[in-house]
Point group: C2
Chain length 116, copies 2
DNA sequence: AAGGATCGTTACGGAAGCGTTTCTTTTTGT
DNA sequence: ACAAAAAGAAACGCTTCCGTAACGATCCTT
């Protein structure tokens, strides 16, 4: 069943969640980094640098750098593809799953508070 | 009436909207800038630098810089408060309203596509 | 086996963001 | 009237991101 949002509700939801994200500011990811992270966790694997670059419409170094950053934060991990050792397979981590779980809860909570 | 979202729906919504934002990438605002913009347009005025800094939990120069950037993009405008000329009042613009209207439509569209 | 294509990374110069500190203008309190 | 306080901006050094271009490593084709 689809979610029916009014314009006001849509923007209020975005506002409230963004504000909370800024206020707690635990990791301070950019919009691109969040997109990458969500894509890795929501879309079926395997995920490669090239594939992510195409999906997001950005250059490959952008993906490499984002993975560097999020790798240090333990939100994702990388390993060579044994089938084709040119490829790098991006994998999920426990830390990343927990981070997104918290984000999901935040969105749900803010959505619950919405009234017309 | 509150919006009831499942965890999967919540993250999918965030994913889809973030992805579209990155892909079109017309303005490339940071999460903080988006928060400020939404706050200005959704919360009752007046809005000051100090007030925004407190709301977001950041320092005042962060707000000043964000307003510089978004001012150049015509998304907001600033003017001195005549009542207390130390204050700067942040105002909405047509361009900013259009930008957020598009964002609202995007969220609504993606929400509509969501299924359990 | 060799040349070319593909994949991810690194290097580079530049742009933009950050927090702290300093400064100017304006208001407030005595 | 004058010192202290407050608001916002500017200056500073630092970090991080950006896109382009160049680079090794690996695969594919012949």
């Amino acid at each position: 069943m689809p979610i029916e949002l009014s314009a006001s509700q849509a923007l209020t939801l975005w506002h409230d969640v963004s504000l909370q994200q800024v206020r707690v500011g635990q990791h301070d990811l950019t919009l691109r980094q969040i997109s990458i992270l969500l894509h890795i966790y929501l879309m079926p694997p395997p995920h490669t640098v090239r594939g992510l670059a195409e999906t997001l419409g950005v250059t490959k170094p952008v993906i490499t750098r984002a993975l560097d950053t999020m790798g240090e934060l333990q939100l994702v991990s990388r390993s060579r593809d044994d089938k084709d050792r040119r490829n790098v397979i991006i994998k999920r981590t426990l830390e990343g799953a927990l981070y997104l779980e918290k984000l999901g809860d935040l969105i749900i909570d803010q959505g619950r508070k919405l009234s017309i």
